[in-house]
Symmetry: C2
Subunit: 407 residues, 2 copies
């Protein structure tokens, strides 16, 4: 995107509401289950202006675009909906629809996740767009660092139904463990900007919850399955310590009678078939099994490297209270309170944000995204509170007000 | 058991084959899914004799019973079969059926596992027997130490379809990690005889495999489910790295295209219902998910404490080649070859053996079980080989020839 090009564009098309506004700099994260999009829309006052926000990068004098970062997602299986969406947004990216652009001039959208490889040909064919492939781990880490450094009230803890926003000391951010729960799970030790190592992972992740959940409950969507779990009782399905010990604790090793000895262990009974169990009980047991397992493996990896903070992200979470609570309790339990689980409001978009940031890294348009301001008012519910109840809006993909500096 | 009592008994009833022979010293491990039994039968040459085996406990001069330790199991749900079995064996235990025993004289069978608490009243009512409760972890560790120290060709490694018996250096046995996979999983750091700590565990264990497996496949038994997995192809159900990356590896982080990214991740597809998947594919995916997860968590715990050797036991394994292979590969993969998975032939009977040993610990009968000889010939197939193929007989609960010293 060249400055002149953008100015022409802004002048030629009156801005509508942000959802309808001309967008630019779209980036994609195409995972096994979901496609995540991040894109920038300029505010309706339009055009370039001098920065009114204090920034610390010595770029105060450059032109700045005020606008918002928007977030959207699609199922990977419905990738054509995503392509239609991009088409409908009349996206202007570098080289695209640029009068006089030579045939060799590539029209590139930054993309990460395995789908950036798998669907490269499809994007070329349908949109005439090349996917500029960014490494998945690079992108996750860049996205996490960006959110933790630049977005107010991004990180929070969750325990006993209470979320508490965390004030992250920028000087004390690193090292941390980033656990991204998508279809599968990646665990990344982050030591600084661009400095990280994928230390572990597990194949028991969001795809397992949704895949097993579909087979067992016939739910039609991930969110329906998650919603079901809210009403379920896992004790109908799980074998508890008390079920084995005749109602008593196993005190000597600190296991209460209500601790789960064996997930789905009660389903070994000859007397009941799948149809005899309530889908909500199965969903809850499944969610608890997977959340607890991820919490435990995460903690063990944090312990390996002496990391006190673990940030959990990825679309498995869906800002879902019970999921976060189970993960937080697992980390608390296994670490005996030494390690802390934290969550991110834009949990599902780390990879897409990281890919978005990579426009800058590659000096593509001399673009710089810096010093993001507050999240947009529509999503800032509870923004000034440091405590709040479980909130269904918590994860409604809040857009982020931001400024883009053009140097 | 008093010596006189036993001698009377041996004299009054001619010995038949070992399965019919008079038994004594039965011990139980009553878990969430299975009841495991260990009992001693005297050889048909009967009576007490001087030891002909070199022992190192200074007990050479005492009377000795030559015989066998036998192993049996029942489903906990069918506990009445177990009670009938004990009754049919006309068990003589201390105080039981002892003429002149006072009403206060307790008839005690050593028992461990949660069922020792849960079913105490039932045993009292049906058999007039008190269950002498032994701690589950104590028993597991005592059983493991006994097997590793006293039974020839007990421990083996398993990789690529090859088992290799391990010669355990008694001076170099400790510390090790013991992973007992029953309905749930316990992970115990063993530092010496009676010196141990339960450091971790997971509720994703054998009960999860069987419980989820029953719901998903309608199999009628654990062994049927395990057998199914042998013929299955998990790639139909699991989301592989290549499924996300369009058939290519994700080389940068060392994940091949055939690595499982998300267990059951392919089942998120809208196009297929549970009935459209083959039970054998589901079983294999499930087995691989759980085995791999246990292997990973075990390794992470071994790493915490610098333990190079991990012994896996518990009835989940069933001497099943694919299960052991997956666990061994998981430990090898995560530890980059640093840690080694080992297995035990009497994998399912650690707790019951430990409870059996506790007769000695409590000085109950001045009984000592020492210096077990070879496993019985009927079960010693491959006993002298250090290499052998996958063997369906591997886990046929081989009896152990042994001597019981009476001091």
């Amino acid at each position: 995107m060249e400055i002149g090009n953008l100015e022409n564009h802004v002048q030629s098309e009156p801005m509508e509401e942000s959802s309808q506004a001309q967008i630019s700099h779209l980036a994609l994260d195409i995972g096994g289950s979901l496609i995540k999009l991040v894109y920038f829309s300029q505010n309706s006052d339009g055009g370039c202006s001098k920065s009114s926000v204090q920034v610390s990068n010595g770029n105060e004098g450059g032109p700045v675009l005020q606008g918002k970062l928007h977030f959207a997602k699609f199922e990977t299986a419905k990738i054509h909906d995503c392509i239609d969406f991009i088409q409908s947004k009349q996206l202007r990216v570098t080289g695209c629809q640029h009068n006089g652009a030579s045939a060799n001039e590539k029209c590139v959208i930054k993309a990460t996740g395995g789908g950036a490889y798998k669907f490269a040909d499809l994007f070329k064919e349908k949109l005439g767009i090349c996917l500029g492939k960014e490494d998945e781990m690079d992108s996750l880490v860049a996205g996490a660092n960006f959110l933790l450094k630049s977005v107010h009230n991004e990180a929070f803890t969750y325990m006993d139904g209470q979320k508490e926003f965390a004030q992250i000391d920028q000087e004390d951010l690193y090292p941390y463990l980033l656990v991204n729960i998508g279809s599968g799970v990646s665990m990344i030790k982050v030591d600084g900007p661009g400095k990280f190592e994928r230390v572990s992972g597990t194949n028991v992740g969001g795809g397992t919850f949704w895949g097993l959940g579909r087979l067992l409950t016939k739910c039609k969507s991930f969110d329906e399955l998650l919603e079901l779990s809210h009403r379920g009782n896992n004790r109908v399905v799980d074998m508890l310590v008390g079920d084995i010990y005749g109602g008593t604790d196993y005190k000597k090793i600190g296991l209460s009678s209500t601790a789960i000895a064996s997930s789905f262990g009660k389903a070994i009974s000859d007397n009941k078939e799948l149809e005899d169990y309530k889908p909500e009980d199965i969903s809850r047991s499944l969610l608890r099994m997977i959340s607890n397992n991820i919490g435990q493996i995460s903690y063990l990896n944090a312990l390996r490297f002496g990391l006190k903070r673990i940030f959990f992200a990825g679309f498995f979470l869906r800002g879902h209270a019970y999921t976060m609570d189970t993960i937080a309790v697992a980390v608390h339990f296994w670490s005996k309170g030494e390690a802390k689980a934290m969550f991110l409001r834009h949990e599902g978009f780390l990879g897409a944000l990281g890919a978005f940031m990579s426009y800058e890294k590659h000096g593509f348009d001399n673009l710089m995204v810096h010093q993001l301001v507050q999240q947009s008012p529509s999503a800032s519910h509870g923004g000034d509170k440091t405590h709040g109840p479980a909130d269904s809006e918590l994860n409604d993909n809040p857009s982020i007000n931001c400024s883009i500096y053009l140097s």
